[in-house]
Amino acid sequence: MRFLQPGTLEEAISTRVDNPEQSVIIAGGTAVVLMLQHGLIAPEVLISLEKIPGLDSIRIEDNRLHIGALAKLGDVADSRLVRQYFPALFAACAAVGNVRVRNQATLGGNLAEADYASDPPAALMMLDALVEVKGISGTRQISLPDLLLGFLTTTLEPDELITGVIIPIPTEQPRMAYLRYNNRSSEDRPCVGIAASATFNDAICTGLRLTVGAACEIPTRLSEIEALAVGSPLTDTRIHEIAEGYAAGIETIDDLQSSAWYRTQMIRVHIQRVLKGLRDG
């Protein structure tokens, strides 16, 4: 196996094009190294993105927050801009694994890996983030639902790299939260993760965004159910109705960590907790 460190995105992409079958991209390596160690992959070439300059920046441009694909999850969580505008993304990144994983794992790697038991994707989907993707034919920006296809699969073409994530900064700062539930021990990956944001005019809810991740193959947002919140106060009854809507509308995953039935119960419980938290400020 050869370990290559291209110095530009173009070079990384052309190296990929030259070795489509035999090469694997490595960013932080937290997933790739485990796969190598366990013999799940045996590439001839590892293409490291680490030496590509500027790919780890976190900055505001045109009223949108740009996070480079190589930004470490810990740096995203520590970013003053992320904490100020997107506390749900802060909380989702800060919840990942342990300090060491967050010091090594990148946001782009987390998205490209497309493991359902993840925290950041639900927060990014709730925030209407766009993923910037670059390949030989140019750059495209796609939404999370257009990137994530299912279990460990994305719509990325073999020549395409994730270069960053772009999140629109809302004009009116909503209340936001990310609530992660672990059913076994704290170092486990999430059983259910819920990202929510809501705006209020006095007690009247004027907008709700709610995404459930980790419990289903792809993070899920149900706009018809979100709409139930708008135009009236978020009473306990209304919150219950929303939680029931999500519990009924999401096909949950059965795995070694928990049964699908249990995940559905946990969606119901945790949505109510998150929404009551947002309502009570």
Partner: protein, 154 residues
């Protein structure tokens, strides 16, 4: 095989190893630095913790080639000749271990914590060190050791 230079504890080593090898493997098998240990091998237990550019990582999750060009610190690099690092001293003074298997990892994590927060609270210490596991359950004494180094103790 890759040829790479690893900078460990301030010294540069010109090495030749397979790019599959983890940093943990190369530190132990090529350099004889056995302070970093394998517990879980999957990033959870923290017994393989080392510092790369001052930040903790699991050396079982990083390839040695990825660490080339960075400053690597292992527990062997903390003491100044015979004089132990103050974190090592505190772990001894407070009996922050029993078998000692997890200790290098806890010590390096504590060094990284104190580099960024000079006076962490007990809560912050617990949260930061929650990714290091101790099978002997020395947690109360580890917490005492780290608290003794925090300005907030007073």
């Amino acid at each position: 095989m890759s040829n790479a230079t690893l900078k460990v504890n301030g010294k540069e080593y010109r090495l030749s190893f397979s790019p599959h090898q983890t940093l943990l493997h190369v530190l132990r098998e090529e350099l004889g630095l056995v302070g970093a240990r394998e517990g879980c091998g999957i990033g959870i237990c923290g017994s393989c913790t080392v510092l790369v550019d001052g930040r903790t990582i699991s050396s079982c999750l990083m390839l040695a080639v990825q660490a080339a060009g960075h400053d690597i610190t292992t527990v062997e690099g903390l003491a100044d000749d015979e004089k132990l690092h103050r974190v090592q001293r505190a772990f001894i003074d407070h009996f922050g271990f029993q078998c000692g298997y997890c200790t290098p990892g806890f010590i390096l994590s504590t060094v990284a914590l104190l580099a960024n927060h000079t006076n962490p609270s007990a809560e912050e210490i617990r949260e930061y060190l929650s990714g290091n596991l101790c099978r002997c359950g020395s947690y109360p004494n580890i917490l005492k050791a780290v608290m003794s180094l925090s300005d907030s103790e007073v």
